[in-house]
Symmetry: C2
Subunit: 214 residues, 2 copies
């Protein structure tokens, strides 16, 4: 039922169909597929399309020109990859359980992902419990950026946290600042930072769903 059990050529065929539909707005004909993949015979193309259909990747409308449909529509949204709660280990869903769909007009959707915020550690920056934060992966950032920082501890899975990042050169340390006056910032000597910490990405957008009156 998935791409893994398709052969090399069938994978390339499937990719071509997806890209063709994205750029042309319609599925390709069997002959166009053959031309692209250097397949001499249309019967040959038909054979592999039948295989792709049998494996559940596409469906076809008999006799219709360009009668190819993708069974799973292309994932255009931003995958929700897990839950982030300050200080606790990041709960990563290996497979995106859902996705939020924010248009490419506003945000680069390439490589970005979303996390669900737990807790009130960034409440004074108006990031609430339950909000989705859209993360653009990057390993560096500027002072004041809201970032996902991961503490790599030996022998344990790293714990991650959502904080504002400040590099304090005068003290030779990094400060991870929550936006909650009840919570204390985390101060990390630069040497420890370099050894044990890692920036995973930066918050580029926030999305909140208002279910009912709070």
């Amino acid at each position: 039922m998935s791409l893994e059990q398709a052969s090399e050529i069938q994978r390339r065929m499937y990719d071509f169909i997806v890209n063709y539909m994205k750029s042309e707005g319609m599925p390709p004909t069997n002959r166009e597929i053959g031309r692209e993949l250097n397949i001499a015979s249309t019967g040959h193309v038909d054979y592999h399309l039948t295989m792709l259909e049998k494996k559940g990747l596409i469906s076809r409308q008999a006799k219709k020109s360009r009668g190819i449909k993708l069974t799973k529509q292309v994932q255009e949204g931003i995958p929700v990859m897990g839950i982030i709660a300050a200080g606790e280990p990041l709960d990563i869903f290996s497979d995106a359980s859902s996705s939020i769909n924010i248009g490419s007009d506003m945000i680069e959707t390439e490589n970005t992902y979303a996390l669900v915020v737990r807790g009130r550690s960034m409440i004074e920056d108006h990031i609430c419990d339950g909000d989705y934060v859209v993360i653009k992966p990057q390993s560096t950032c500027q002072n004041g950026d809201i970032v996902v920082a991961v503490h790599m501890q030996e022998g344990a899975s790293g714990s991650s946290t959502l904080k504002r990042f400040f590099q304090e050169k005068e003290h030779n340390r990094v400060r991870l600042q929550p936006a909650n006056s009840e919570l204390d910032p985390i101060m990390i000597p630069k040497s420890v930072w370099d050894r044990e910490w890692q920036i995973q990405g930066k918050v580029v957008a926030i999305f909140r769903q208002c279910i009912a009156a709070a």
Copy 2:
């Protein structure tokens, strides 16, 4: 260059193409168009397609089956209809100047629209200056809902505001409550409310773009 200068039949043809592409994932053939619109001749269909092309609504790839493309891709996002600032007249863009694209998995996109928030009147509900609020149009709401309320004043364009709605039966009035302790709620006697006010819709989601460090 627009739908207005197309004739009735051409408008129906254009609509059919849009709907067909949405449901089938490919453009229709000339014959399928003719069948749907009760046009006997394929030459006749070609004539109107040529007209639609001349008017800039579609483009065609000669000789290719289903060779129709929509020039302006279908607006799938939520249109940003204006700016809302507490108490000031709603700045409505008659034509959506932009759109944010939030997937239908999360929100009904049908009929919903977005407004850009100006000011800090809802800051304690963590709705900030510059945030997009997604509005689901409805004329009634429940206590505690965050709504767009419009004050219809005679001889002037109505002013609108973003507030929490409370019907206070014991005082026979409506209270529009800002989420900012520096601002006072608006108290409106029920009779005045019924005569001069109108609920335009309810906030169902919030979207914020983080440009840089604040």
